[in-house]
């Protein structure tokens, strides 16, 4: 593999990311399964870096999951999106940052469709006024939350308490990055690094001392597939796609996986558990799996946040081997405590994976 070839491509796909003043919208899946990641994003950007990231309780889903499960028409999702954009303008913002890749892809697609079909945009603007009494607006810049962390990666690395380096060997940690299909597969120029060799996560990993593992099925979907997961009868689709990725990355012995999209870390974490329970196979060292992190969790660990504040206890694959490699102190006794040290029991142990 010739690294300079990738660098050349990265240099060609650098999108403009404003430094400050964003209207922030949450993700259906990230806030449900990784709420601490959204909290970490806001804490890092607002408190550590002093940025203005504004959130209003009045924003909602973009409707993307329902739309991609074919439950709502395109006009519905477009009007919900128009409502989100209108709220942004109403609160005096022109930069929009979203916490979800499905949303990000859908925003890019919607803006493109409006550009191509002005009569449709006009209709959506009218519907928005009729249903919500809001004025139609479009963001000047639209970024995914990971784009912002990428943009701040060197500032974050300068504040690092831990590096993505194995403290026992001094070697860089080997990281698999998983981008999430809707980030740049539809609009390569909208993603940092493009569609084939995206740099948004690789840039964070490199800034923090780690090294990125490129494996044959790197570009393949995690297997969410919307209806292919929501309906129990279809879940074999989801599982088989994750399985394919793990079989492909196994020979590279990655220390952990970092993800961009809110759904992917759930699937890549949970299907490892299912593969282990069904077949006894684990992909990490011994009976461990490969820890799967969100990028907020990764950067949170780098900045010295407590792993249990970041929610790593809510993953099925334990992050402890990674914490040990990074030299992070943690208290196993506090792992499953509730707020203010409240004892809320602990999950049952899976039989095959730790």
């Amino acid at each position: 593999m010739i690294y300079e070839g990738k660098q050349k491509i990265w240099s060609e796909y650098q999108k403009e990311i404003p430094d400050d003043h964003y209207f922030y919208v949450r993700s259906c899946i990230r806030q449900s399964f990784f709420p601490a990641s959204e909290a970490a994003f806001l804490d890092i950007t607002r408190k550590k870096l002093g940025k203005d990231i504004f959130e209003t309780e009045h924003h909602t889903t973009c409707g993307g999951i329902a739309y991609h499960s074919d439950a709502i028409p395109q006009e519905t999702v477009m009007t919900i999106i128009a409502r989100q954009f209108a709220l942004m303008a109403k609160y005096g913002y022109e930069n929009y940052v979203c916490s979800c890749i499905t949303s990000f892809g859908l925003y890019c697609e919607t803006l493109e469709t409006w550009r191509e079909f002005p009569e449709l945009q006009k209709k959506i603007a009218e519907t928005l006024w009729k249903t919500c009494r809001l004025d139609f607006a479009k963001p000047k810049y639209i970024v995914h939350a990971s784009d912002l962390i990428y943009h701040y990666r060197n500032q974050i690395a300068a504040l690092a308490k831990h590096k993505l380096i194995n403290v026992h060997t001094g070697e860089p940690l080997r990281v698999v990055e998983h981008i999430g299909c809707h980030y740049s597969k539809m609009f390569p120029s909208k993603g940092v690094g493009g569609a084939e060799y995206p740099y948004v996560l690789a840039g964070m990993v490199e800034a923090c001392g780690g090294t990125v593992v490129d494996y044959p099925e790197r570009r393949h979907c995690c297997g969410f597939g919307f209806r292919q997961y929501f309906i129990k009868a279809n879940r074999g689709y989801s599982l088989s796609n994750t399985y394919k990725k793990f079989e492909s990355m196994e020979p590279y012995h990655p220390d952990f996986i970092v993800t961009n999209c809110p759904g992917c870390p759930y699937f890549m974490d949970r299907w490892q558990y299912v593969i282990a329970e069904e077949t006894g196979k684990t992909y990490g060292e011994g009976s461990h799996g490969i820890p799967v992190l969100t990028y907020e969790e990764m950067m949170g660990l780098v900045l010295g946040y407590d792993p249990w504040d970041l929610g790593l206890q809510t993953h099925q694959v334990g992050a402890e081997p990674l914490l040990d490699k990074m030299g992070i102190q943690y208290d196993p006794e506090r792992k499953y405590l509730g707020a203010k040290g409240k004892d809320i029991g602990r999950p049952a142990c899976p039989s095959c994976i730790r």
Partner: protein, 351 residues
């Protein structure tokens, strides 16, 4: 007084037109921006369909150039209409008054790294058709290491709107079949695949070459465009395509992948085009006055075209096109400069 003809471009088209115009009695000046004559032909090893050595073809072209003045390493600095002629200033300080100009600026190979999903310049064992010809000539390429499974990818930078190249590059299908057979001859144990969309074996003997590839060389033809390439841990390549004949996705591991980089309008030619104010067609190549009856004429009087400057061509196509251009130029000069024609006649009869 003999008319001056300026030829811009020293590839096969420029050379063949130059030799013919010289024979017709014109004063020919050929300007080449690089340091050698021969263009892409000079970098090729053998030519389809019969395997003629490219060097033999080039030697023949160069051997017919008696009397043609050639400037290599020379650019056109300016070119302006002056009466019936063109006043041309060259980068070597020489000024020429040309009565006709032939633009034979050829093509550039598509930059295969732009087809990012194929990993040229990133994966260790991905090469282009041009790299392979150089290997055939020199025997040197560290990326080619006793390959046992080899793939040829047709249509790289051709018939691809994502790469901004809608048109077919015409020569790649035949080149791929030729190179596949040559690789089989070089590595008899190798299994070789050609991934194609349509096999465009349009020329005389090309279909025979295809038949031989299947029958005598055991080349496997898979009807499906390569969608994605990645590198395995052992450095081999994982290649995905659909076998559209059986409607099944296909993944194969290969030791070497050869990208059939297509033709694009040459960048240096486009510069000449803008100096002259010539129009391009949608495919980026120069506009011709009529695609049926006046292929070698531009819409500007006195400016002629030959070779791949007006779209992808094989070597024989290019040479025929160049000879056609020479005839067209001769006709034009005879019509526009009748006195010069008389002189020519006089010289001919006198001698």
């Amino acid at each position: 007084m003999r008319n001056n003809v300026l030829i811009i471009g020293g590839g096969p088209a420029g050379l063949e037109a130059g030799a013919n115009l010289q024979r017709l009695g014109y004063n020919v000046l050929l300007v080449e921006h690089s340091n050698t004559l021969g263009g892409h032909l000079g970098k090729w090893d053998r030519l389809f369909p019969g395997g003629t050595p490219a060097s033999a073809a080039l030697d023949k072209l160069l051997g017919s150039m008696d009397g043609v003045k050639c400037f290599t390493d020379t650019e056109i600095q300016s070119i302006n209409r002056l009466g019936k002629s063109y006043n041309v200033i060259l980068s070597n300080g020489i000024t020429v008054l040309a009565d006709a100009v032939l633009v034979a600026t050829g093509f550039d190979l598509f930059q295969a790294e732009k087809k990012e999903e194929y990993g040229y310049g990133i994966y260790d064992h991905v090469i282009t058709n041009a790299d392979l010809e150089l290997y055939f000539k020199t025997g040197l390429d560290t990326r080619i290491n006793a390959p046992r499974k080899i793939g040829f990818v047709h249509c790289v930078g051709s018939r691809d709107e994502k790469s901004g190249c809608r048109s077919c590059s015409k020569v790649c299908c035949a080149t791929a079949v030729k190179q596949a057979c040559e690789m089989k001859a070089a590595f008899p144990d190798a299994q070789i695949y050609c991934f194609y969309m349509d096999l465009r074996m349009f020329g005389r003997h090309y279909e025979d070459m295809y038949l031989e590839a299947q029958r005598d060389y055991g080349i496997r033809f898979i009807r499906g465009r390569v969608a994605e390439v990645s590198e395995n841990i052992d450095g081999s390549l994982s290649v995905k395509a659909e076998d559209t004949v059986s409607s099944k996705p296909l993944k194969v591991s290969l030791d070497l992948l050869v990208l059939m980089a297509g033709m694009r309008p040459s960048v240096s030619g486009q510069r000449i085009g803008s100096l002259l104010g010539m129009q391009n067609e949608k495919d980026g190549y120069f506009e011709v006055l009529s695609e049926i009856t006046a292929q070698q004429r531009s819409s500007i009087p006195g400016i002629f075209l030959a070779g791949a400057a007006t779209g992808p061509k094989t070597i024989p196509d290019t040479l025929a096109d160049a000879r056609g251009a020479a005839t067209q130029i001769d006709k034009y000069l005879s019509d526009i400069f009748p006195k010069a024609k008389d002189l020519k006649q006089l010289i001919k009869t006198a001698w």
